[in-house]
Symmetry: C2
Subunit: 147 residues, 2 copies
């Protein structure tokens, strides 16, 4: 099924979904943020077919979210490194994870949460704030023209 393209949308949410709006892409970025770099690591983590993984990695490279690099250990394998644009998806993944923690029950006994590596304490809930620091509820915001 061909999806409708949202690449020219005025709304930045729609444009983002056009670029990373599929599961595998976001889960690959999640794993890359956790330090994974090799095809085999992503394959094992995601349990996805080689075909789909190859397609998604290629798409992420062409979108400038990942870049290919020689292996750090000098081995024959190429690695996939996040670009600054890719690392910028951190907030998106934290937001998705916090919503899942609160709203979608996971398998008892092996649920994971995001913690601060230093103190092993849960990361704070993301807050939407105005320029002057006020906490904003959805109704206190609106979309406006940038230009």
């Amino acid at each position: 099924m061909r999806r409708k393209s949202l690449s020219g949308a005025a709304c930045p949410i729609a444009r983002t979904l056009d670029v990373i709006g599929d599961w595998w892409s976001l889960l690959i970025v999640r794993d890359a943020l956790r330090g994974m770099r090799r095809f085999g690591e992503f394959e094992k983590s995601l349990g996805v077919s080689k075909n789909i993984l190859t397609q998604r990695l290629r798409a992420l490279v062409s979108q400038g979210i990942l870049e290919r690099a020689a292996a750090a250990d000098g081995g024959a394998y190429r690695e996939y490194h996040l670009t600054a644009k890719g690392r910028g998806l951190f907030q998106v993944l934290v937001a998705l994870g916090q919503w899942g923690q609160e709203n979608v029950s996971g398998p008892a006994g092996r649920r994971m949460i995001l913690v601060d590596r230093k103190h092993r304490q849960p990361v704070r809930k993301l807050e939407v704030r105005a320029g002057d620091g006020r906490l904003l509820a959805p109704g206190e915001t609106m979309m406006a023209r940038l230009d």
Copy 2:
């Protein structure tokens, strides 16, 4: 193509994508956060077929993200209202929008950004912070077992 189910995943990001991991669902929630409530409003905003919109609204209701209610004006149409679970997706949408603003160029002359309704100033960039308030980069966080 049948997607692999991630509903039982240990990772809360994966569970979230299992529930709202498609474009239309997130764009419907975006519009509902902006105050839209009627089928016809969503249809006009999204430019989507009645078939797909009906499916997605039904899925969002069955997931407890939207609920059906009688029209506020006493008219014959049913409305779709966000539940607390649905309003909780605000941070996800803000994160997606901010990434799009920074990384995916929109159509000149009609780009939109999220602003504080009171002062019409851009909303602050979302920040990931530790319990003690420290700003956290991706490498300063990790996934840990909750139970």
